[in-house]
């Protein structure tokens, strides 16, 4: 095999893919470190799966380069790239037993039966499938099928494992369980994982690097916490959730902060981080985390310096277990939502229709691009 380096760092440089008139991937640049867990996150049709398939070698890019371990792999078959893919519905061969599914890659390489099964059985042991070795895929649960798919892909010792929506076929409980198992396997194998998903929670729970995509372009790429807590623009903020996005007009700019007016509230103070210059009258988007907002009864303790305050009314209250989701009758089109910790909420529970003041420290408003 030509790729002896074994390094699984990936670099996408000016990657394009067109299907007829449709541009699926529109000039993507990205670096993923060797041994990282990278999640591509976006709605269906955003190009994330196409990128995965191009890295895997199942689709050829229209333009641009794909480097794995520093070498351009465009045009090489999957085996020469030393990548392995786990398909969305696992694509286990229905006519082969678990053992023969896992052994398939060794069989096509012409490795003799005894050695092939020795290697396979060791792998089955590793993913705890030994008792199921002689079953057919149709006889397995979703979680077991996923483990077989993982074992089958990992047996060739790839340097990059590509996972296409690996958890979408599972039910809620199993999904969380298998999520943990994926992360464990990734640590154990010590190779680069590239995982495509449309589920925000899945991405931020698993990934070292989250890549948020829209219409073939990368919107933001970075550590999970950074993408969640500091979204760059409205799209990323709304897609990852947990944020209220306010749109309004700049009333005035005064040094380190600006004042924003939204349709029914004036005087919201937003700090300026210097990344973007704004002038009076500009239309801007501002994000405020739902769990950074506090609710209090009107007149209970007056306006505080350094805090934004909005007079509003409660629309609905939804109990979520560890917190309570309160929707307010104001401002943001998508609804202005506050997450109140459960214990705090029930010390003085609100009901829909109550008049409240929503407050948050001014430094917790974030200007979006």
């Amino acid at each position: 095999m030509s790729m002896a380096s074994g390094k699984g760092d990936i670099e996408l440089a000016g990657l394009y893919k067109r299907f007829g008139d449709f541009t699926a991937v529109d000039g993507v640049n990205l670096k993923v470190q060797d041994g990282a867990y990278c999640c591509f996150l976006g709605p269906s049709g955003c190009g994330k799966t196409t990128i995965l398939r191009m890295i895997a070698g199942h689709e050829d890019p229209t333009g641009g380069e794909i480097l794995i371990g520093g070498e351009n792999v465009v045009g090489l078959p999957p085996v020469a790239r030393r990548t392995a893919m786990m398909f969305q519905s696992y694509a286990l061969f229905p006519h082969l037993s678990v053992r023969d599914n896992v052994a398939f890659a060794l069989r096509v390489r012409g490795i003799d039966k005894a050695q092939r099964y020795r290697t396979t059985d060791a792998m089955l042991e590793k993913v705890r499938l030994t008792e199921l070795a002689h079953r057919l895929p149709g006889q397995l649960s979703g979680g077991q099928q996923q483990r077989v798919a993982l074992a089958r892909a990992a047996i060739t010792e790839p340097r990059v494992l590509l996972l296409d929506e690996p958890l979408s076929a599972l039910d809620e409980q199993l999904r969380i369980q298998m999520r943990t198992e994926l992360r464990r396997m990734q640590r154990e194998l010590g190779i680069t994982f590239v995982h495509v998903t449309h589920t925000q929670l899945e991405a931020i729970a698993l990934a070292d690097v989250v890549v948020v995509m829209e219409k073939g372009k990368i919107k933001q790429a970075g550590p999970a916490r950074e993408v969640y807590a500091a979204p760059r623009d409205r799209y990323v903020a709304e897609f990852l959730g947990g944020q209220n996005v306010l749109s309004g007009k700049v009333e005035s700019v005064n040094g380190a902060s600006l004042t924003l007016s939204v349709p029914d509230t004036k005087g919201i103070v937003v700090p300026l981080d210097g990344a973007r210059t704004v002038t009076d009258g500009d239309r801007i988007d501002v994000a405020v985390r739902r769990d950074d907002i506090h609710l209090r009864r009107p007149g209970s303790s007056g306006a505080q310096a350094g805090w934004n305050a909005v007079d509003t009314r409660i629309r609905t209250v939804e109990y979520q277990g560890s917190f309570v989701k309160v929707m307010l009758d104001t401002m943001a089109e998508g609804g202005f939502i506050v997450y109140v910790p459960e214990r705090e909420f029930f010390q003085d529970p609100f009901e829909s229709g109550d008049i409240v003041v929503a407050t948050w420290p001014t430094e917790h408003s974030r200007l979006l691009a």
């Binding site: 398909f87 057919l136 089958r152």
Partner: protein
């Protein structure tokens, strides 16, 4: 469950009693009407054939109609020894060889067409409707056409050239349609997964595509064989100087007036059942083999 309201208990008891008594609910009159209809349908379907099988086992005094005279295998022996009954043995052999040829070509052709039609290609619609056209075209006319063309080009019509073509015009469209149905449940991700794991094109075909499609391919083979084996109208003008079995039987109905005609019917039916049995047995065997893998721990 101890908290169940007492009103519910008598109801369940009543329900259980009905089951224990075994008193089946009265069938509606429509049941008897439909059952009679079905029974007469089955009788009309198998009755005539049964008559032939039964009458073929008469002894030397036997005639073409009931009542049955004696019981022997005389007419079976007569069938294969008497020259006057026609070239049954030759016809049978030709029909079997032709049907096997047709089967192989149909399976290979349908398989490849099934693979090809998974994606759109230029003129795919035309190809498809041309194929359906040869299925809809009257067989006799199609046979005459093939016969005429062979004559025009100065070729001699024979059962393994012109008749083979005529049969394929009938079995291939059928096979392709069956293949479409089979292919609709074939997941392309299987091929991609195999490629991803390092299989070559041939390995993908032999280790993944063919084994997964095996039951479907056997069904196509069965279709191809039976359609060719008893094909008449397309063969009539294309078989050349030597007859296939259906043509031989047809000729016999015109000049043979003994139960050996019925004996022939029994023998050919047995041959058909044997082929069908082998194919279905093959499908069952594949599924059994897959199932036993599960129970071996």
């Amino acid at each position: 469950m101890s908290a169940t309201s007492p009103a519910i208990i008598p109801a369940t008891k009543r329900a259980r009693r009905r089951v224990v008594d075994g008193a089946e609910p009265r069938r509606p009159w429509t049941f008897w009407v439909l059952a009679t209809l079905f029974a007469s349908y089955v009788l009309a379907l198998y009755g005539p054939m049964l008559c032939i099988y039964v009458l073929s086992f008469q002894d030397i005094r036997g005639g073409l109609v009931f009542p049955m005279k004696g019981l022997s295998v005389h007419w079976f022996i007569d069938l294969f020894t008497q020259v006057r009954t026609g070239d049954v043995k030759g016809g049978f052999e030709r029909s079997i060889v032709l049907a096997l040829l047709v089967t192989v070509l149909t399976v290979v052709g349908s398989f490849m067409a099934g693979l090809a039609f998974r994606q759109r290609f230029k003129g795919d619609g035309v190809v498809f409707y041309l194929m359906i056209g040869s299925l809809v075209a009257p067989g006799l006319v199609l046979g005459i056409g093939i016969g005429l063309l062979f004559q025009y080009f100065g070729l001699e019509a024979s059962w393994f050239t012109s008749a083979l073509g005529a049969h394929l015009s009938w079995t291939l469209p059928f096979g392709v349609l069956v293949m479409f149905a089979v292919m609709s449940r074939f997941d392309r991700a299987w091929e991609e997964a195999a490629r991803d794991l390092g299989a070559t094109r041939w390995q993908i075909i032999w280790m993944v595509v063919v084994p997964i499609l095996a039951p479907g391919l056997l069904a196509v083979a069965l279709f191809g064989f039976t359609l060719s084996y008893d094909e008449f109208s397309r063969t009539l003008q294309t078989s050349g100087p030597l007859n296939t079995l259906p043509l031989e039987i047809w000729a016999m109905t015109l000049n043979v007036t003994s139960p050996s005609l019925y004996a022939l019917g029994t023998v050919t039916t047995l041959a058909s059942f044997l082929i069908i049995g082998i194919c279905l047995g093959g499908i069952v065997w594949i599924q059994k083999r897959r199932a036993t893998r599960i129970s071996v721990h």
